[in-house]
Amino acid sequence: MKKSIYKKFLTKNKDQVFSYSLYLLHCLEDAEDITQEVFIKLWENWHSINPQKRESWAMRVTHNACIDLIRERNKIKQTTYDAQTIGFKEVFDNHDMYSNPGEKYYLSEQQKVIVSSMAKLPEKQQNILILHYFYDKKIREISEMLDIKESTIKVILHRARKSMKTLLSEYFYEKKGGQYEFAV
């Protein structure tokens, strides 16, 4: 019984966990390792997790594992992966997976700009933006996943949107009638 429920959960959530790791870490191998680690931990702790909160648990563990890895990288100063100091072109040129149309990790130029701009934000703002917009998670769900108050998340989200607009300002082109176009 545990096996069948676990299998269904794995099928439903593996892409979400994997993508979240990839967008935070920008490294395929690390994202694969984190995904594997999260689901093995989930299997080992299956009975101690509330069935209604398994998804939140999995995302929280993924988040914590990614943050730990980022901090470890910063300690040993692996600047190849530090998207906050390198411009977005270098980040994506070093990773072919994002650049080949038809490849499963392909991002359009516009999407690359969004992802690399996000990478320049503080950790919390980046995480909350990804969960809220990429995964369409509600404030309450994010609060459960990251163990942060809902009011705090609203404030962080507001600041993150403001920062993103500033970062993307050079890509907004004004058209007639006050309309804007987002062009890379």
């Binding site: 545990k2 593996k14 892409d15 594997q36 689901f39 299997w43 516009q110 999407q111 917009y133």
Partner: protein
């Protein structure tokens, strides 16, 4: 920027995602018709949120899924019978009952074990005499009693008392203390 513009701009995200009440939606849409600055900001935010919502969800590679399967349910597919049984107990939420039963068994064992010693109560320890000593003491007592009878007949009370003190072995004296009512005294 006015306070109202500040308040309206905070509602843009929920307005775009359709999370506002009818009143709030009406408030935002009316303000956007009149405030050009907010209208520009709204357009930028709309484009940005729309682009973020369309960022793709990547598929987890098959080799990762295979590794997860090998480390989880495939590894444990040949579980021992007892582990499967315990798993069944936890899934069926019988844990409190199982723990309760175990506690009852322990309590019963703890309370019953001391009572098993009552069937063979220990005998109080007394002085140990050999059979030979008891026979000898009995013979001497019989002779002394005969002599006492002779003395009593001769009305010699003092002599009787002295004989009792001197002649009777200790074990006989102890046992006669409360049972013989000798003429003239104890």
């Amino acid at each position: 920027m006015s306070l109202q513009c500040d308040y309206i701009r905070k509602l843009f995200d929920d307005y775009i995602r359709g999370n506002l009440s009818y009143k709030q939606r009406k408030l935002v849409s009316t303000h956007l018709k009149t405030c050009k600055a907010c209208k520009k900001e709204y357009n930028k935010e709309f484009i940005m949120i729309d682009a973020m919502k369309n960022i793709p969800l990547f598929s987890c590679p098959e080799n990762v899924v295979k590794k997860i399967e090998d480390q989880t349910y495939n590894k444990h597919s040949e579980e021992a019978f007892w582990r499967k049984y315990l798993d069944w107990i936890f899934i069926n939420k019988l844990r409190p009952i199982t723990i309760g039963l175990a506690l009852v068994i322990v309590l019963v064992m703890v309370t019953l074990i001391p009572f098993s010693t009552l069937d063979n109560p220990q005998q109080p320890e007394g002085p140990k005499y050999s059979t030979k000593e008891i026979r000898k003491a009995k013979k001497e007592a019989e002779w002394t009693l005969t002599y006492i009878g002779h003395i009593i007949n001769e009305n010699n009370k003092e002599a009787v008392h002295n004989v009792l003190l001197d002649r009777f072995p200790k074990i006989i004296r102890e046992s006669l203390k409360n049972s013989i009512n000798i003429i003239g005294g104890k």
